[in-house]
C-alpha cells in the first residue's frame, strides 16, 4: 500500500527518468544549508555529492546542467566544506579515483580490453615525479640537482602523462597480441612484475629506493603559494578530471573511439573494415595509461610519500570494480561507480569501523581485529563484481549510443553531392546524360 503510493509519486515525478529542475535546486539548497549548519554530518556531505547525480538526471538543457554541476563543484563544495580538511580530502580522493576510472574506461569500456594491471601506469606517473621531486635522483644523476622545487609539479603533470603513455606502449606491444581472457591474466602478471621491479630497484642502481619508498615529495607551488592542503588538491584534481572527461567525450565520438568500440564488439569485422588491431589497441592503452600517469603525479605530491604498497593488484581491481559497476563504456556511469566505491571505502566502511570500535572499547561487543570493516575491501569488491556480472553487466548507468541528428546530416553542406564510393553514381549519370 505505502509502497504503491511511493511508486506512483516517484513515477509521476520521474517521467522518463527525469527529475524536475525545481526539485534538483531544492535538493542542492537544502543539503548545502545542512552541511553549512551541521559541519560534521556525513549525510549532508553525501547529499551534496549525490546532487551531482541528480543534476545529471534533471530535465533541463545541457548547458544548465553543466552550469549547475560547475556551481556545485567549484563554488558550493569548497565554500561550505572548504575549511573541513576531511571532506576536502574525501572529495579529492573521489576525484583521483574518478580520473583513474575514466582512464581505465577507455581501455576496458571502449576497447573491451580487460586490463588487470592498470595501476602500473599510475605507479609510473607517481614515480616519475617522486624520483625527481625528492633527493632520490641524486643517486644516479650527478650534480646534486635534486629535489626539484614544487613549481616543477606543473610540467611534471605532462612528464607523468608521457612516461605513463610510453609505459603503456611498451607493455602493450607484447601484451596486446594476446586475446580476450588471456589478456586479463597477462596484464595482471605485468602489473605484478612492475610492482616487484619498483620494489627491488634499489640495486644495482638505487632508482626507486625499494620498499623504503620515497619521501618527502615536493608539494606543488604556484606563484609562490605552497599548495599543500586538501583544498588546493581538490581544485587540481577537478581541473584534471575536467580534462579527462572532455577527452573521453571527444574520443568516444571520434574515428578512434568508433574503432575501439568496433574492436570490442567484433575484432574480425573491425579488421575487415580497415582497422589495424594492434595500433588501435595500443592507442587505447596509451590513452588510458597517460591519464593514470597524470593522476599518479598528483597522488605522489598529495601523499608526499610513495612506496610500492600503494600500487598493488587490489588497486587495479578496485578501479575495475568502479568501471564495471558504474557502467563499462559509460562516462557518467564510470564517474558514479568511482564515487560510490571510493566513498564506500574511505567513508562508509571507516565510519562503520569507528562505530564498531566505539562499541568494542565500551565493551558492548568484542571485535577481532581481522573483522574490522575497514579491511572488508576484498569482500566488498568480490560481491560487487559478482552482483554486477550477474544482474547488471552493463552497470548502473549503461552506456548510451550516440544518437545522431538526422536533420542536421540532411542539411549539412556536404550533403549536396554524393560522397565516397557513391560519387560513382554522379559520374554514371553524367556519362549517360
Amino acid at each position: 500500500m505505502v509502497k504503491q503510493v511511493i511508486a506512483n509519486a516517484t513515477g509521476s515525478l520521474f517521467k522518463d527518468r527525469q527529475v524536475p529542475l525545481l526539485l534538483t535546486l531544492l535538493w542542492i539548497a537544502s543539503f548545502t544549508l545542512a552541511l553549512y549548519i551541521l559541519e560534521k554530518s556525513v549525510l549532508a556531505f553525501m547529499g551534496i555529492l549525490l546532487s551531482l547525480l541528480l543534476v545529471y538526471y534533471t530535465k533541463t538543457s545541457q548547458t544548465v546542467k553543466v552550469v549547475l554541476g560547475a556551481l556545485i563543484l567549484l563554488v558550493l563544495i569548497p565554500l561550505v566544506a572548504g575549511d573541513n580538511r576531511y571532506y576536502m580530502e574525501v572529495a579529492t580522493q573521489v576525484g583521483i579515483y574518478v580520473a583513474m576510472a575514466l582512464g581505465l574506461n577507455i581501455v576496458v569500456g571502449f576497447a573491451g580490453l580487460l586490463d588487470l594491471g592498470y595501476v602500473a601506469f599510475f605507479a609510473a606517473g607517481a614515480y616519475a615525479y617522486a624520483i625527481f621531486a625528492t633527493a632520490q635522483a641524486n643517486h644516479f644523476i650527478p650534480g646534486d640537482l635534486f629535489p626539484l622545487g614544487g613549481e616543477w609539479f606543473w610540467p611534471f603533470l605532462l612528464v607523468g602523462l608521457i612516461v605513463a603513455a610510453l609505459f603503456g606502449i611498451l607493455l602493450g606491444l607484447p601484451v596486446l597480441r594476446v586475446k580476450g581472457d588471456y589478456l586479463a591474466i597477462v596484464t595482471l602478471g605485468f602489473g605484478e612484475i612492475i610492482r616487484i621491479i619498483f620494489n627491488n630497484l634499489n640495486k644495482p642502481i638505487n632508482i626507486t629506493n625499494g620498499p623504503q619508498g620515497l619521501t618527502p615529495v615536493a608539494t606543488p607551488v604556484l606563484f609562490g603559494v605552497q599548495m599543500n592542503t586538501p583544498f588546493y588538491y581538490y581544485f587540481i584534481v577537478l581541473f584534471v578530471i575536467a580534462f579527462i572527461v572532455l577527452a573521453n567525450i571527444r574520443f568516444e565520438r571520434s574515428r578512434l573511439g568508433r574503432a575501439w568500440i568496433a574492436i570490442r564488439e567484433d575484432e574480425l569485422a573491425a579488421q575487415s573494415m580497415g582497422i589495424p588491431l594492434l595500433n588501435t589497441k595500443l592507442a587505447a592503452f596509451a590513452a588510458g595509461a597517460s591519464f593514470a600517469g597524470v593522476v599518479g603525479v598528483i597522488f605522489a605530491a598529495k601523499q608526499t610519500f610513495i612506496d610500492p604498497t600503494s600500487f598493488t593488484l587490489m588497486e587495479s581491481i578496485g578501479i575495475l570494480v568502479m568501471v564495471i559497476l558504474g557502467g563499462s563504456g559509460s562516462i557518467p556511469g564510470v564517474v558514479l561507480g568511482a564515487a560510490f566505491v571510493t566513498i564506500l571505502q574511505v567513508q562508509l566502511l571507516k565510519e562503520f569501523s569507528n562505530f564498531l570500535h566505539g562499541l568494542n572499547s565500551s565493551g558492548v561487543i568484542s571485535l577481532p581485529n581481522q573483522l574490522d570493516p575497514s579491511k572488508f575491501q576484498r569482500l566488498v569488491f568480490g560481491i560487487l563484481l559478482i552482483l554486477a556480472a550477474l544482474y547488471r553487466p552493463n552497470g548502473l548507468i549503461p552506456a548510451k549510443r550516440n544518437i545522431n541528428d538526422i536533420e542536421a546530416i540532411k542539411k549539412s553542406r556536404f550533403a549536396k553531392e554524393k560522397l565516397g564510393i557513391l560519387a560513382n553514381l554522379n559520374e554514371g549519370k553524367r556519362q549517360s546524360g
Binding site: 577527452a247 571527444r250 574520443f251 565520438r253 571520434s254 574515428r255 578512434l256 568508433r258 574503432a259 568500440i261 568496433a262 564488439e265 567484433d266 574480425l268 569485422a269 573491425a270 579488421q271 575487415s272 573494415m273 580497415g274 582497422i275 589495424p276 588491431l277 592507442a283 590513452a287 552506456a399 549510443r401 550516440n402 544518437i403 545522431n404 538526422i406 546530416i409 540532411k410 549539412s412 556536404f414 550533403a415 554524393k418 560522397l419 565516397g420 564510393i421 557513391l422 560513382n424 553514381l425 559520374e427 554514371g428
Partner: protein
C-alpha cells in the same frame, strides 16, 4: 591483366587441406561466384583473399601487386572488403555508426586532432556522417540510422553489412552467402540490388552462394570448388552442363544414371 589474381593458393590446417592449388582470376567489373558443396573450402578461399588466413603456398595479386601476407586491415585499405556468412555487425552501435566505422581507413584524424577538436577533424567527421547516411539511403535503410544494429531484423542487418562494406570504398567486395536465410522475394530483391550495385558503383563482386537460382541468374563467371580443389570454371551455361560439377553436387551415382 586481371584485377585480382589468386595463383595456386594452398592452405592446410594440420592434416586437413582446406584449399589446394586454387587459381582464380577476376576481371574488373564482373560478378563472379565461387560455389561448391559444404566444406569445399569456399570460405577458406575468401579468408585468404581478405588476409584472415595466410596461404601456405601461392600468390595473391591485386592490380598486379602482391597482397599476400598483408593484414586484413591493410587489404581493406587497398580496396578489398567483405561481408560475413553469419553477419558480423557491431551490435551495440547504431546503424549509422556501423557504416562510419567502415570509413576508418579513409579518415585521418589522429589523437591530438581529436583531443583539440580541430576544425579539420570536425569537418571530416561531418563528411563521414553525411556519407554514411547516404550509404544507408543507397541500401534503402536510412530510416533506421539511429537504431542499434543488433536489434535490427535479419534482412536489414544484411543490407547494413553491405552499406558498411561500401563505406571502405572498395574496388572488390566479397559477399559470403548474401542471400542466406532470406525468403524468395527477399532473394530476388537482393539479386537485383547486387547487380545494381555493380553497375552503378563500378564494383567488382565475388560471392559465395548456395542458392543456385541466384548464382546462375546473377553471376557472369563461376568457379567451382570441391574438397579444396578447383574442379571447374566457366560461364553459368558451361557450369550447368559440366559433368564434374554435377558429380560433385549429386555424387557419383547421378552421372552414372544419366
Amino acid at each position: 591483366m586481371a584485377l585480382l589474381e589468386a595463383k595456386g593458393l594452398t592452405k592446410r590446417f594440420g592434416g586437413l587441406v582446406a584449399n589446394e592449388n586454387v587459381t582464380v582470376e577476376i576481371e574488373k567489373g564482373t560478378i563472379t561466384a565461387v560455389i561448391g558443396p559444404n566444406g569445399a573450402g569456399k570460405t577458406t578461399f575468401f579468408n585468404m583473399i581478405t588476409g584472415f588466413y595466410e596461404p601456405d603456398e601461392g600468390e595473391i595479386l591485386l592490380n598486379g601487386k602482391s597482397i599476400k601476407g598483408l593484414r586484413p586491415d591493410q587489404i581493406a585499405e587497398r580496396g578489398i572488403t567483405r561481408t560475413f556468412q553469419n553477419i558480423r555487425l557491431f551490435k551495440q552501435m547504431t546503424a549509422l555508426e556501423n557504416v562510419m566505422v567502415g570509413k576508418h581507413s579513409r579518415l585521418s584524424a589522429g589523437m591530438l586532432g581529436i583531443l583539440l577538436n580541430a576544425k579539420r577533424v570536425r569537418e571530416e567527421e561531418e563528411r563521414a556522417r553525411v556519407e554514411a547516411y547516404q550509404l544507408l539511403e543507397y541500401v534503402g535503410i536510412a530510416d533506421i540510422a539511429n537504431e542499434e544494429a543488433g536489434s535490427l531484423p535479419y534482412g536489414l542487418q544484411r543490407r547494413l553489412e553491405i552499406a558498411r562494406a561500401l563505406a571502405t570504398h572498395p574496388q572488390i567486395i566479397l559477399l559470403d552467402e548474401p542471400a542466406a536465410g532470406m525468403n524468395p522475394r527477399e532473394t530476388v530483391e537482393m539479386t537485383a540490388f547486387i547487380r545494381r550495385m555493380r553497375d552503378e558503383l563500378n564494383l567488382t563482386i565475388i560471392l559465395i552462394e548456395h542458392d543456385m537460382k541466384l548464382v546462375m541468374g546473377l553471376s557472369e563467371y563461376i568457379h567451382v570448388l570441391d574438397h579444396g580443389q578447383k574442379i571447374a570454371e566457366g560461364t553459368p551455361e558451361q557450369i550447368r552442363t559440366n559433368p564434374q560439377v554435377i558429380e560433385a553436387y549429386l555424387g557419383k551415382a547421378a552421372t552414372e544414371v544419366s
